[in-house]
Symmetry: C2
Subunit: 392 residues, 2 copies
């Protein structure tokens, strides 16, 4: 079944993604008759979504008026991590006009965290980033009922279960709001402006403190029946593996994730097994993924082994998911993507060896292009889509 979105939605997205376009070209691109297009444009001008922007260069005949998104359109994009708040205020074309980033503990609960988000957005207004917001998009680090706009039983977010995040933000800012899982918004960002540009079926694997997977199927985010599709961190990959924070043994993220890597790196530093890590530990503070990446770059064999072991574990799970879902791309993002090509090479090797030849014949496994900005980028895309859908 081929689905075509409503004309106003396609028109607004086109202006968002490509900038000012002449009316003549818009009619061609959207396959609308001239009267239909003019009526649509007139309606969206009146509703405050678009504006006329002078004349386009001649295409040979009469010159056509340029149309653009209202320059005052503003979206707020919020990416809540386990220990961080990232905010971008963007214009209609999703270009940032203000950004804020600070540490925050998600376990402080929804009231404290959302209060701080609202304070930062108030500061953005004082700073002149916007007069009023047209939509707010927010990602949270746990399962979300997308339909209801609430987190659902999020393991690392005490106090957030079914808290009305969407309703609370919509009321505060007097505009539509939309809530999604943090990995889903990263995948949306990567599809809009990153390495998965226009790819319809792909998996975005975030390796951060934990592990999660954003799933795009047929061009849309697939969220599952309860909103927890892609929650692959607690797949058991080794019944005799280390204990996981969830209480089970041998979960994928107990074997390979930011937390697991820090644990293994610290042990290798203390035991002296890795001179590179021991030196870094002695030099001060903690040991993390960055140290392992640097150690590997210097040729420290333990650092290289830690990355390869992790890639092998993750690769085996991804091979299973490739056999199941037959995607056309896998994108690796999150903090541990900085482990770079050693990690990627190991994942590729396992996935290509263990999945069906038909499914891997043309399956790129690549690093995220947007890096730490993937989350806010996707939240801005979601916010704009939500605003545009309401322009009907």
């Amino acid at each position: 079944m081929h689905v075509i979105d409503a004309p106003h939605l396609r028109l607004l997205r086109l202006l968002r993604d490509e900038g000012p376009i002449s009316r003549a070209e818009l009619g061609d691109r959207l396959d609308l008759t001239r009267p239909r297009l003019l009526a649509e444009v007139e309606r969206l001008v009146a509703a405050g979504y678009i504006a006329e922007a002078g004349m386009a260069a001649s295409r040979g005949g009469r010159r056509s008026t340029l149309v653009e998104l209202q320059p005052q359109l503003r979206f707020a994009a919020v990416d809540l991590g386990a220990s961080s708040i990232d905010i971008e205020v963007t214009n209609g074309r999703l270009e940032p006009v203000a950004t804020y980033q600070e540490a925050a503990d998600i376990r402080s609960g929804p009231k404290a965290i959302l209060h701080r988000v609202n304070e930062l957005l108030a500061k953005a207004r004082t700073d002149g980033a916007y007069e009023r917001l047209d939509a707010v998009g927010i990602g949270v680090p746990g399962p979300v009922s997308f339909r209801d706009g609430v987190p659902v039983s999020p393991p690392i977010m005490p106090g957030w279960d079914r808290y009305p995040v969407r309703e609370s933000l919509a009321r505060e800012h007097g505009c539509p709001a939309v809530v999604d899982n943090d990995v889903n918004i990263m995948a949306i960002g990567e599809r809009h402006g990153g390495v998965a540009h226009s790819v319809d079926d792909f998996l975005f694997v975030k390796i951060g403190t934990g592990i999660g997977c954003g799933i795009h199927l047929g061009g849309d985010v697939y969220r599952g029946v309860d909103g927890c599709a892609g929650d692959i961190g607690h797949i058991q990959v080794d019944a005799h593996g280390p204990m996981c924070s969830c209480g089970n043994a041998g979960c994928l993220e107990a074997l390979f994730s930011g937390a697991a890597l820090a644990r293994d790196a610290l042990a290798a530093a203390r035991s002296g097994e890795s001179p590179a890590l021991a030196e870094r530990l002695a030099a001060g503070g903690g040991i993390g993924a960055r140290d392992v990446a640097d150690g590997a770059a210097e040729g420290d064999v333990t650092c290289i082994r830690l990355i390869r072991d992790g890639g092998r574990r993750l690769g085996a799970t991804l091979a299973t998911l490739v056999s199941f879902a037959n995607p056309s791309m896998i994108v690796i993002g999150g903090g541990l993507a900085q482990l770079g090509h050693i990690l990627l090479a190991e994942i590729r090797s396992v996935v290509y060896r263990r999945s069906l030849p038909l499914a891997t014949g043309n399956l790129p496994v690549v690093l995220s292009e947007l890096g730490a900005r993937a989350g806010v980028s996707g939240a801005a895309v979601l916010a704009s889509d939500t605003a545009f859908e309401q322009a009907s």
Copy 2:
């Protein structure tokens, strides 16, 4: 995004699934105005899809004319297995008017097998089952490019790679044809008339000679980028496990499938470990899934252990897929579904223990209702949908 199919498609499906309906009720059910409905009905009568069928009982006002599918509509549903051909010719309501079943080796190649299919269908015509076919639906035991109507690199179907199955059947019978994977058509059948009735997101796991999975997401079959989504038989579950026919070690279907169970049962019969199986082997012929099921029913501990071991292996893979896809139901079908409740209990136990509580809070794991008829049922549904789509 909510998609509503074209009115003619909804109308024809309604008559297929519920039988004759009055014009008045059709208008209500399809939410069409009276003139729109009458125009649609008139058009479909003229095109030979529907017919008028007398007057409905009064609803208080004027009596309304009943509408039904043309009684002469006929669909051919074909289910090709590794070693069998199953055919049903159905009327418009998908009730069988003729059925044929015989052994056939898929490795004989497409010309020989499709020739035999055509012979059986010619026999059905001679037997008076139809005058002309309105569509043919066929399932084959391998990956399929649904768009192109051809098998793609099917491992157990030598000679079939990219053979124009759809085109060949359409030409032979002068009607639309549609080709899909055997597990996909079983899942379609189960959703139309079986235990997954109206369930939008579910996995249909076929355990036959091999293992495969049909995936329904958002009410539609999900086929993946290359048509091989759901090909879970060659997921590696034990690096030290037995060799698989694909050349790798420890694939899921090398550990649990009809072929693997026959192998393990024969070993247990020969070694005398299982008195029940030894007795059956001595009594004559081969040993198969049926013998293991019967042995387990008699309390033979080896038979029970074989089923439990298989359920545990399959359950671990399904737990991974549940964490990934968050479906609302798992249906177990294929020949090994006859292992019954011991198998089901073991699968459930592993899936519920290893997947996220949120994803398994309300996740039935159930046996196929249609059994051996699931494939032809689904092929008939696909055939009718294909014919109805062309009625526009």
